[in-house]
Symmetry: D2
Subunit: 262 residues, 4 copies
């Protein structure tokens, strides 16, 4: 756990915002305002417990809970306070095996800069790789077609790009957005359920991607691939491994997607 925290705080350069009595460590990226976006817990194996999305407000959370129940997805509620500075969470399992959570409330702790006349960045912005935000995750599991329908029909995401399988009849990989980030979550069809391919962190420029690679090299972080450009999304990227064996991505770029592209 110490090695993991050291990596996320000093090499990846997230800001540690708290630890709870279960020993979980809460972190955020320097330009994020909510209390936490990455939570580490000690475990026997690498992987992702769940991925959460913030919704507009508690009424929206209620509405999503109802829609998930109506779709037979059996949402569970986890009461406020289970995670530090985080309100009630609605959790459900995707047919790919992954747990997804929605929540409306997380305490804003700011980005370390004044709200009035803020500078463009501060010293935190150069502490380690220092991504501006947790951006998306790519998950592996079965039933990607059903997952797509849940994200599109129930959660209001839209399909940005996809990889077609043999015969071009089914999507073997999908990239989904709920706004104008080129992806908020992505899935690859895979027999084993609930797998994490990578968690992804956003950088401001291709030069910052090189800087990330330098920092990986200087800290003996094993690189999976990159720097290179993605065919999907056009992003400039490096994939590498955290000390626990979770793949992570530091990337920049990509276009603004719109739901009306056909």
């Amino acid at each position: 756990m110490d090695k993991a925290v050291g990596f996320y705080r000093d090499v990846l350069g997230l800001v540690e915002t708290g630890r709870d009595d279960q020993g979980r460590v809460f972190l955020k990226c320097w330009d994020e305002r909510d209390h936490n976006s990455i939570i580490l817990r000690e475990a026997d194996t690498a992987g992702l417990d769940f991925m959460g999305f913030k919704v507009r407000d508690e009424a929206t959370l209620d509405a999503f809970e109802d829609k998930l129940a109506a779709a037979g997805l059996n949402p569970e509620t986890i009461p406020a306070g289970d995670l530090m500075e985080t309100g009630r969470r609605v959790r459900f399992r995707l047919p790919s095996g992954h747990l997804i959570e929605l929540y409306a409330t997380k305490t804003s702790v700011g980005n370390g800069m004044t709200m009035t006349n803020p500078p463009p960045w501060n010293a935190q912005s150069e502490n380690g790789i220092a991504p501006t935000r947790f951006d998306h995750a790519l998950l592996y599991g079965p039933n990607v077609a059903e997952v797509e329908r849940i994200f599109v029909d129930i959660l209001g995401f839209y399909l940005v790009e996809r990889v077609l399988g043999p015969g071009n009849e089914t999507s073997v990989a999908i990239w989904l957005s709920c706004g104008q980030k080129v992806h908020d979550i992505a899935f690859v069809e895979h027999a084993e359920p609930g797998k994490l391919h990578h968690c992804s962190f956003l950088l401001e420029s291709w030069e910052k991607v090189m800087r990330a690679g330098d920092i990986m090299s200087m800290n003996d972080v094993p690189v999976d691939i990159g720097p290179t450009r993605h065919g999907v999304t056009r992003g400039g990227t490096i994939y590498a491994w955290d000390p626990s064996g979770n793949r992570f991505e530091t990337f920049q770029g990509g276009y603004y997607p719109y739901p009306d592209v056909t």
Copy 2:
């Protein structure tokens, strides 16, 4: 008009997509897919006739029309076909004096690249300054507080940044987003109604901003200010003038805004 078209097509590097029988010239940025985002018409003075926003679909357009009417904003309908490849438009005048239009339908002509296995860019991407998209406009006029309420309460935008006036009691400038672009439209309080400060075009990097400045210099485009970084939005920018005396911006960067930041 020839000089203006030459500038927008060869120096700014937009793609000309058509001309109508009124002599209007329709252009788009290379990475935009809809038929047009900038329309030039011959006029005695510089300025902006209207700014349009695309909405999700025709039902959404109807709903906005009703809400605008209910708010006493007297929306007018302009039938499909008045602008090339563009559906029905709903137009209303802001208390700042500007005409805003909504529409749901514009023909997609693509971005010049295949939808299957597209390259990251093509030759159009290096024709002149070659912004990826028309991004936003900054407008000057009176009654900015009322304008903000219309955009927030009726059109679903949210306030991203603002400049406060003396005593910090009113906003003298506001930046509004309807998604996750750091701004889609902005207003500055100003006695004279209906004024255009600038139309803004998005570039991919700070290096592209230097390239834009080089192209301006090589084409005797008068620069207003920049390259520099904005205090608001953190963008890297140049303001310059088109041959008609309209200020335009070529910029990059800025953060992803969220409506829940407080």
Copy 3:
């Protein structure tokens, strides 16, 4: 040959400046002023015939010829006119098996821009990968220690970096500069004489390296390695293969070396 010329002219983006009656094709990079820096000839195998360095003037060439002769390197003279727009060349073979040439005279054809009030770049600068200059070559062969002595003692180069072999007693690779470019030529100890590892072309920025990679990808150029950063010289680089099977490099960066660093 057609494929090779097409690659060097349209993909790598050199400027073709002439062809001679032997069918050799002469090219230069857009920002080079001399008539040619790369010469292609048809051959059964890939490889490098010779590498040439320009010296200050004909008197300097004479002096080098004398020094080479005195060192037993048996320099040969090739008369002016054998290569297009090129004066007398003095040629000798290194103990690594490579032919090196010196010359003092090559016609300046300029860089396509006016000498008075030149712009920073022009359309040639964006034709293909468009390196600014041929920068260096890395050669493989035996007797690197002797090669180093010839370059340092006779030709006035200095050692910038080296890779030490087992026991740190000998250099198994050396990077040599004759000015303030971080390398002008480099050698790796290798049993087989006269081998070319790569010819290298200079780009202005890390963003241009990505652009080079994009162009390679869009033109099915096989990439060897990169984008990445070199441990030696700090350069940002891609190695790839020309259609004949010669490795080439497109890179940027590196520090200014000085001969007095110890």
Copy 4:
């Protein structure tokens, strides 16, 4: 003096390497290896006492001293040890009123990184603006034509670029290099002798120039001009003012010059 040292060390981001008993403060850029490249002393007015160039060795220094004497430039010797970690200096006054010094010996203190398997940069590289090296100075004074002859005929520099005066008969500004940096010193014709226009510090990229501008803005450093691109040398630049009123430059880029360009 405290304010000046604070600026050069914490804002410009040089490394303080020593202070002598006269209260002079010695600094170097992070990637320079010699003990000092900038020396601050308390004074009633802003300006430059002298600018020094390192020569190859003591024999070379002797030879230059003889040539300067032969040219009637009355070189003086300042004994080793007057400046910290610096050998004997040969000083002469240019007809522009500026003092130029040559020296062969200055202690290498390294760049803060190991000589074996060095990383590409370290924490010093991001301390403030953190230029890699002191690059050049631009000086104002009379008799630029004579100054050019001294630098070219005696010191072995060559003219890289120049600004011609009315009628194109004389150079009113000259840029001189003694290697392959696009300039090592520059002069502008000006009636008042001995004036400093600016001292210039090298950055690795245009993005680093923006970062320099950000740091200037966050530290209330008054900017003179920029970011912009120079017409001469193609560099990307900002001019600003140190707390004493000396103009300085942070810049990147520019081409590799060669003495044979005509």
